[in-house]
Amino acid sequence: MTWESALFWLSGAMALAGAMLAVGLRNIFHNILGFALALVGVAGLFLTLGSDFLAVVLILVYVGALAIAMVYAVMLSYPLDTRPRPRSTRKVLGAAALAALVAAALFAVVLGAHFARAAGPRETSAAWVGRRLLGDYVLAFELISVLLVVAMIGAVMVARKARMPRQAPTPTPKLIG
C-alpha cells in the first residue's frame, strides 16, 4: 500500500466520521468539533490529489476561521442551560429516508458514468494556481475579494446592536450634598 492510498483511506474515514459527528450529536460544540475534523479529512483528500495549496487554504479558512466564528456565534446566541427538546421520530426517519433516496440516485449516476482519462501533464502545483488566478481568472479573483469585503461590512452592520426604542431620559440622581 503506497502512502498515497493510505492517506486517502485515512482522510476519507476522517471526513465521513467527522461529518457524522457534526450532524449526529446533540451538543452544538461537539458538532463544531466534528465539522473541523471533517474538513481536515477533506483537506487530506485534496493532498492526495496533489492540490497542496488548496488543502492549506481549506484548513485556514474552514478550521481556522469558520469554526472559530461558529463558536463565537454559539457563545452569543445559544441558550446552553435549556435541555434540548426530544426529536419526533417521524421527522428523523423522514430526513433519513430523503438522504438515503438522494444518496441512491447520486451513487447510481456516479458509478454508472464513464469518465475519460486525464490527458497531458497535471497542473496541480501552487505556481499553476497562481498563474491562473492572476491570468485568465483575474476577474473572478477580484470579484471574490470585493464580495468578501461587502460580506464583512454587512456582517458587522447586521450584528451590531440595534438602536433601542427612544424613551424619556431617566433623571440622573444628583450627588450634590
Binding site: 483528500l45 490529489l49 492540490s51 474552514y62 451513487f107 468578501l148
Partner: protein, 112 residues
Amino acid sequence: MMPLSGYLTVSVALFCIGLYGLVQRRSLIAMLIALELMLAAASLNVVAITTLSGGGGWRQIGLGHASSVGQVVALILIGVAAAEAAIALSLFVAIQRYASTINVEDLSELKG
C-alpha cells in the same frame, strides 16, 4: 493514484450526510454546519474530476490542463462559503437578539 470513483463515493456520502443534517436539525447553527459540509463535498467533487479526468478538450481550446482550473473553482467556492457563513452567523446573532431563540420551529411568525 486512487481511482476517481473513490473520491466521488466519499463526496456523495459527505453530501448526503450534510443533507440529512440540514433537514433534520432544528438549530440554525447546526443547519449552517450541515450546509458547509455539502459545499465542501461539492468542491471535492470539482477538484477530483478535473484532476483525474478530462483535460483533452480544455487543451484543444487553449486552456491547458483542467486541474488548475478546478482548483481555481474550488478556491472561489471556499471564498463564497466564507462570505456566506459570516453573513449567516451575524444574522443568527441578530435573530437571537430579536426573538430570543434560534430554533427554526419557534421562528414561525410568517406562518399563515
